[in-house]
């Protein structure tokens, strides 16, 4: 009936849950489920990506294991969700990358860092690489700005294209018309829901993680991570605009906007991922898709390393360590970009568009927000 065994299980659970509905106030998944009497593969993939894995429905469920009905929605949807990432991968040949993501990330990271250092050495002599450079344009003594922009622009563009193709595959799978993605109300509602992690709070008291006591730690650490990421992205964007519009070259003084944004974001990207990792470590194994630990952890670690290398560069940019640190930082960032479409990063994209669809469905059902 369904494409995979996990979707069969998800279908069984949704039949159980649709007969119960006690959890409908906890998140978006159950109200979305109630709009249906039967579930296609696409419906189940939609519900899987709508689930924020707060775990409340597992702790609140009278039928969770060891009960014979064996209802474990968070874990089942987590597996289905990760399967869906692989299924939507573009290009298709890379769909296996998700399964090996932990390993792949380190290899790509190592290779790209090596490539950078090698590239610098080829472009410049060793003295430049390990020399002390200060003042505007000093970064570009190691690597010309245009080369840097071209390389990262290409990596970024590639990530965007691959992600867009993935969203296209997801959207087709769930059978939603493309027009939904152009509806401003749904987009805005989903942005609010995603921005405040509205559905990562167990219906108001927080996530459950290691036991039945809910708390807000995962939500807070996710906020640090997400907004840290956004600030870092804003920092890079401002710097690019500086460079091209007003010919103001990096490195910038500590009080300048790119550095302020980058520092704040960097702090967020240190605290957030570290916290998420710690929570992940403590999390009740019954709630997680343990076969995908590598994928989850790799992405969190990459974000942490991005910030760590960036902050190190900020601290020691006036010393002889600047060259190697810049190489390391750029290597990590490059690796982050290039692996984005093939790792945990995609959860944000698919969940966001799932929230867009949910917002539209709610509007059609005549509900408010």
């Amino acid at each position: 009936m369904h494409g995979t065994r996990i979707l069969e299980e998800a279908d069984r659970l949704m039949t159980v849950c649709n007969s119960c509905r006690y959890c409908e106030g906890l998140c978006a998944v159950f109200p979305a489920m109630e709009m249906r009497r039967s579930f296609s593969d696409g419906d189940l993939n939609y519900l899987a990506n709508l689930c924020h894995s707060c775990g409340a429905c597992y702790t609140d469920c009278q039928f969770s294991p060891p009960h014979e009905f064996n209802v474990n929605v968070p874990k089942t949807l987590a597996i289905a969700r990760a399967d869906s990432y692989a299924a939507y991968t573009w290009p298709r040949v890379f769909s296996g990358v998700f399964a090996r993501n932990g390993l792949v990330v380190s290899i790509v990271l190592a290779l790209s860092v090596a490539a950078f250092i090698f590239g610098f050495a080829a472009f410049n002599d060793r003295q430049v690489l390990f020399g002390v450079h200060t003042g505007p344009g000093s970064f570009y003594k190691l690597m010309p700005h245009n080369a840097m922009a071209a390389l990262f622009g290409a990596a970024f563009l590639y990530a965007i294209v691959a992600l867009a193709m993935g969203v296209r595959a997801f959207w087709r799978d769930i059978g939603e018309p493309i027009g939904t993605l152009a509806g401003p109300n749904s987009l805005w509602q989903a942005m609010k829901d995603a921005g405040q992690l509205r559905y990562l709070d167990g219906g108001g008291v927080g996530c459950v993680n290691e036991d039945e006591r809910p708390n807000d730690r995962r939500k807070i650490y996710h906020h640090f991570t997400f907004y840290g990421f956004i600030l870092c992205f804003a920092s890079t964007t401002v710097a690019t605009l500086y460079h091209y519009l007003i010919a103001r070259e990096a490195p910038y003084p500590w009080w300048d906007l790119p550095v302020v944004l980058g520092t704040l974001g960097g702090i967020g990207l240190l605290i957030g991922p570290a916290g998420l990792l710690a929570e992940r470590w403590k999390r009740d194994p019954d709630l997680v898709d343990q076969t995908r630990t590598g994928m989850d952890v790799a992405f969190i670690v990459m974000l942490f390393l991005t910030s760590l290398t960036g902050m190190a560069l900020l601290l020691w940019r006036d010393t002889a360590a600047m060259g190697p640190l810049l190489a390391l930082h750029l290597g990590v960032v490059f690796s982050l970009f290039i692996t984005m479409p093939y790792g945990k990063f995609v959860h944000g994209i698919y969940r966001y568009v799932a929230l867009v669809r949910y917002a539209r469905e709610r509007q059609m059902m005549g509900h408010g927000t």
Partner: protein, 465 residues
């Protein structure tokens, strides 16, 4: 590890809504409290795990309730469902106290939400637990633990030492034998006896073998039996219970809400003779929902079949098992070993008796049969559009009403009419005081919370004096 050598102020036996409300309220009144829950941790809370709402009186709409539900209206509802088999003074007292429970229970960490999808008819009268009964229990346990209530799971009580209405101690089974636990007061909140099939057989005979128990397998009534055997006054008809018709394919115990079927009004119900036996359109869901368990229990082999056609398949709440489908009535009959000719005749007679009308399942509409025995007085529409469907149903026992008599302090009364010295009861174990028969959605939780809170408070006060 809990130190069992000390003497506690309040010993609570049980672990559901009533027990936890008692434990929390006693602890808040300054008492030391030990809770003995007979089930393992996962199954803690008895039937509360399967509940979803509570019926409380309120004079105005709230955040989640759509309008007022006055004490008088609550009382009239109770009077109607019980047919007057209730203790008016105690019932009115409970209804009055229920108003404050709406807030008190929130202070104990429980969260409300508006009525669930498919239960809009309860939107004004019943407050629903966000996340359901187990979520409610998790909140109560968390609060109790934070307050310093001691809790032991898998705690089977083997005996109670009671002397002339005075509780002295309880014997608790331990892996290495038994341990004697002493306390100044006892709150018995250990549920009914519906999971004790042998006990049910005393009143129902062999028919009880065909009953399904919707809730916890741990409500075997052992505490109730000890109390009644040691001089506590009995209340309630032992054959009375909250029983609904549930899917016959449900597990023997603990199938909970998802095996219930809300579709009686959309079809006809036949027994093993393929004969109808009761007016399926007598009254609106959920008011008559609760009668079908007893009706099916009175049929041969305690089984019946709800028959309907494809036009109403999506008109009611889905349930765990899909209905059995067939292309013809005769084929449907053969799937249940019913006589095909008999079922065809029953459906044919029914169809012929249906009068034209305007169907509306939300009101007592004018779709009815004429010249048929028994009639279907509302929502009668021909069953004529294949495929045809059927659900096999059996009595699903939710909870029993035989219990210990109590007064307004939730204090047990002894057979001689005197109040027990230091023994209180709350929840299903004393539900029969208020609920002589029948059922109104969410009232079991009202009984548990109101009398649990009072029992805890009174026990703490007694212990302190």
């Amino acid at each position: 590890m809990v130190d069992l050598t000390r003497k506690f102020d309040v010993l609570v036996i049980g672990g559901g809504n009533a027990a936890l409300c008692a434990a929390i309220s006693a602890r808040r009144a300054g008492a030391s409290v030990l809770v003995l829950e007979g089930a393992p941790k996962f199954y803690r809370g008895g039937n509360t795990r399967h509940t979803r709402n509570m019926r409380c009186a309120h004079d105005a709409a709230t955040d989640i309730l759509t309008g007022p539900y006055t004490e008088q209206e609550f009382w009239e509802d109770l009077l109607r469902v019980t047919g007057g088999q209730t203790d008016e003074e105690l019932a009115r007292f409970m209804i009055r106290e229920s108003k404050d429970i709406l807030n008190w229970i929130v202070e104990q960490g429980v969260r409300w939400q508006p009525s669930l999808g498919g239960t809009l008819s309860l939107g004004r009268t019943n407050s629903f637990f966000l996340g359901g009964g187990r979520a409610m229990l998790n909140a109560l346990y968390l609060t109790a633990e934070q307050l310093g209530v001691e809790i032991i799971y898998d705690a089977e009580v083997l005996d109670l030492e009671i002397d002339d209405g005075m509780f002295l101690s309880a014997d608790l089974r331990r892996t290495d034998g038994r341990v004697n636990v002493t306390a100044s007061t006892l709150v018995a909140a250990a549920g009914g006896f519906e999971a004790n099939i042998d006990w049910l057989k005393q009143y129902w005979g062999e028919a009880a073998d065909n009953f399904l128990i919707r809730g916890t397998p741990y409500n075997r009534g052992s505490i109730l039996r000890m109390l009644l055997g040691k001089g506590v006054q009995e209340v309630g008809d032992p054959t009375q219970c909250h029983a609904v018709a549930i899917d016959a394919r449900a597990p023997k115990f603990d199938g909970g809400i998802i095996t219930r079927l809300d579709c009686v009004v959309f079809g006809v119900v036949v027994n093993t003779q393929a004969a109808r036996f009761y007016d399926e359109g007598e009254d609106i869901w959920p008011k008559r929902y609760a009668i079908w368990g007893r009706l099916v229990a009175a049929q041969p082999d305690q089984i019946a079949y709800i028959i309907f056609d494809s036009t109403v398949l999506n008109s009611f709440m889905p349930s765990l098992f899909p209905p059995i489908a067939a292309g013809s009535i005769a084929e449907l009959a053969s799937k249940f070993d019913l006589d095909p000719a008999a079922l065809e005749k029953t459906i044919g007679d029914f169809n012929a008796a249906v009068r034209p009308g305007t169907f509306d399942h939300t009101v007592l509409d004018d779709c009815r049969t004429e010249g048929l025995t028994p009639p279907k007085t509302h929502w009668a529409r021909r069953i004529e559009t294949p495929p045809y469907y059927a659900y096999p149903v059996r009595p699903g026992i939710t909870f029993t009403y035989l219990g210990t008599r109590v007064n307004r302090q939730a204090r047990m009364l002894m057979k001689d009419g005197n109040a027990a010295v230091n023994m209180f009861a709350a929840g299903e174990i004393m539900a029969g005081n208020v609920l002589g028969k029948g059922y109104a959605a969410g009232i079991g939780m009202t009984i548990g919370s109101v009398f649990g809170r009072i029992a805890g408070r009174e026990a703490a006060q007694h212990a302190r004096n």
